[in-house]
């Protein structure tokens, strides 16, 4: 990476990368537990509700919570953060990535390739598949677009990246899975209409809204293009434990291999680099991020 002359040698990219690497080694067992755990809980809701052991509305609340926890474990898988380059463990990325997304009714392959393009072209209006989530006038508009399905114009990106064989291959792999999900959904709704609505379809919508608002909208709101400029540090009234710590999402864009639960420590260590590189909001990062809810009232 070519260094800007304004950046002092002590904040070089090589040094930044070495620090980040030290936080990119640990096995992400928490995420595997959350991903597979929420999928098992969600699946077990079906017999429990259908056999009258728990009320449908209670099932709906639990399913909605599961859906809110469903994306992040898949996101770690998309970056290969379970296998960490070990080819013998690569199956684990795919396994967790696929299973955890059942709750959200999305094929893993599709979210993986579009997410990789989001990283490669963050905030590019033509090439970033998440662009319309982050560059929308309000949270309400984001919610409307997610419910409508209009923010995920996957067909457009198949055209944009039609020359990218790996992208097209993954996209094509995702189609049968997407159709299978739709088929299962339509069969289930005929047999168990209200259960399908309240245990799967509506929770998946709620989970998608939650994920889009906190993962796509807030972290990229008002940011531009460029490695150190496309994601920001932000705070608001909500403690970060309720939004998967997405206030810290910028460190993920800089170093995607840092495990999610290692990000606070990594940011503490990298804070001088982030300030030197003028990451949006970096001067407001507290010295201690670990166990800090990062509330701003």
């Amino acid at each position: 990476m070519r260094e800007s002359p304004e950046i002092a040698a002590e904040f070089s990219f090589e040094k930044e990368k070495a620090i980040a690497k030290s936080f990119s080694q640990r096995f992400q067992w928490e995420m595997i537990l959350i991903g597979l755990g929420q999928a098992v809980i969600w699946l077990s809701l079906w017999p429990l509700v259908l056999n009258g052991f728990i009320d449908l509305w209670v099932g709906f609340l639990i399913a909605s919570l599961c859906a809110c926890f469903a994306y992040l474990p898949s996101h770690e898988a998309q970056h290969g953060n379970y296998s960490r380059g070990n080819s013998k463990l690569r199956w684990l990325d795919g396994f967790v990535g696929h299973i955890t997304l059942i709750t959200l009714i999305y094929p893993y392959h599709l979210l993986r390739v579009t997410h990789m393009k989001h990283h490669a072209y963050t905030n590019d209006p033509e090439k970033d598949p998440d662009y319309f989530n982050a560059h929308t006038s309000s949270v309400l508009k984001v919610i409307k677009n997610v419910l409508d399905g209009s923010t995920l114009n996957f067909g457009k990106y198949l055209e944009v990246f039609s020359a990218d064989k790996a992208f097209v291959n993954s996209f094509e792999k995702a189609i049968p899975i997407a159709l299978l999900y739709r088929f299962i959904l339509l069969v289930l709704v005929i047999i168990f209409p209200l259960e399908t609505l309240l245990l799967w379809w509506l929770p998946a919508k709620i989970g998608s809204v939650y994920t889009t608002v906190f993962f796509s909208y807030f972290p990229h709101l008002g940011t531009s293009t460029g490695r150190y400029q496309n994601t920001r540090f932000w705070t608001h009234w909500m403690p970060r434990y309720l939004n998967h710590s997405m206030q810290l999402h910028f460190i993920h864009h800089l170093h995607p291999s840092i495990g999610h639960y290692d990000e606070p420590k990594a940011i503490e260590a990298l804070k001088p680099f982030l300030i030197a590189r003028k990451v949006p909001g970096a001067n407001k990062i507290p010295d201690r991020v670990t166990l800090n809810p990062l509330i701003k009232i």
């Binding site: 409307k144 419910l147 409508d148 399905g149 209009s150 159709l179 739709r182 959904l185 339509l186 709704v189 005929i190 209409p193 209200l194 399908t196 609505l197 379809w201």
Partner: protein, 65 residues
């Protein structure tokens, strides 16, 4: 060829089919539970018809909301 035609059809009419099957089933289940119209013999026709109409409107508009 036949599969291609099937996928083309699904791609073009997915919203209408989703309205008919998914929304129709939901509206039908809700109306069946209603004490007001639950006993009517036409409740399913109305429910699936309403679902199909919503789906068709979404297809024409190109958006659900």
């Amino acid at each position: 060829m036949l599969i291609e035609k099937f996928f083309d059809h699904i791609s073009n009419w997915k919203m209408a089919w989703f309205g008919l099957i998914f929304l129709g089933s939901i509206i039908n289940a809700v109306l069946q539970k209603s004490s007001l119209v639950g006993d009517s013999p036409y409740v399913s026709v109305f429910a699936f018809g309403a679902g199909a109409l919503i789906g068709l409107a979404a297809k024409i508009r190109g958006a659900w909301l």
